[in-house]
């Protein structure tokens, strides 16, 4: 159990992001929560591919020894770029919503009262 502390840290990061998305009422803060979840998922992928006492899978000036797995790191690269794309699209939609409704509070969106 003590060896799983990195996984517990990753899950704590994902839970913090989920709580931000669920409980905050500001759209900008919800976008920040989604970004925190993405960071947690990236960290999870990196943590999955690590081997004990391993170096990065790059042969240039490598100190030798076993190498950590390259496929999760490549998937993390994909995930980071997709995160940037999704973040840009979310922020532009938030700007569009702010122009239309003149507010960022999600309780006041939609025009009707609960």
């Amino acid at each position: 159990m003590i060896a799983n502390i990195p996984f517990l840290a990753v899950m704590a990061m994902i839970i913090i992001g989920l709580a931000t998305v669920v409980f905050k009422r500001n759209l900008i803060k919800m976008v920040i929560g989604v970004s925190i979840i993405e960071s947690g998922v990236n960290l999870f992928l990196i943590t999955l591919g690590y081997r004990e006492h391993s170096v990065a899978p790059i042969y240039t000036a490598s100190p030798g020894g076993i190498m950590s797995y390259p496929v999760p790191q490549a998937l993390t690269l994909t995930s980071i770029v997709i995160g940037v794309a999704v973040l840009a699209l979310m922020l532009s939609l938030v700007i569009y919503i702010y122009r239309h409704y003149k507010t960022l509070d999600i309780r006041k969106l939609g025009g009707g009262e609960e």
Partner: protein, 153 residues
Amino acid sequence: MMSKIVKTIAGISFPFITIYGLYVIAHGHLTPGGGFQGGAIVASGLILLLVAYGTDWIIEKIKESHLSILESLGALGFIGVAFLGLIFGGMFFTNFIAGTSMLFGGIPTSTAANINTGGTLPLMNFAVGLKVIAGLFAIVLVMAYAISKEEGE
């Protein structure tokens, strides 16, 4: 529009940031980095210019339609290299240059770095780097231009 100090420092540091990003792109198959990372570095240098000099100064120099053309060129180059693999190697994304005597065709020794290796990887790195530079800068440029125009009204 920022103060004169910010403009001067941005103008001085922009060439260094660009050269470093192009180095990361060109050495993507040897050292940590690649097309995406180097493209992000160059795009952040361009965004530094955008923040320092203001949107109107940038929009006179380059339009977002030009950036869209550049991004499409990057994507077409990437897919084109992949289709060359289909023609010469038999499969999509085949690394048909590695192991031959063409440019970038060498095989590296165990730990020594050699820029003339990698097969199709450097070509794809350049294409993806062009695509990421144009794409990220187009996103920030369009958002900054829309917001500055709204504040000006």
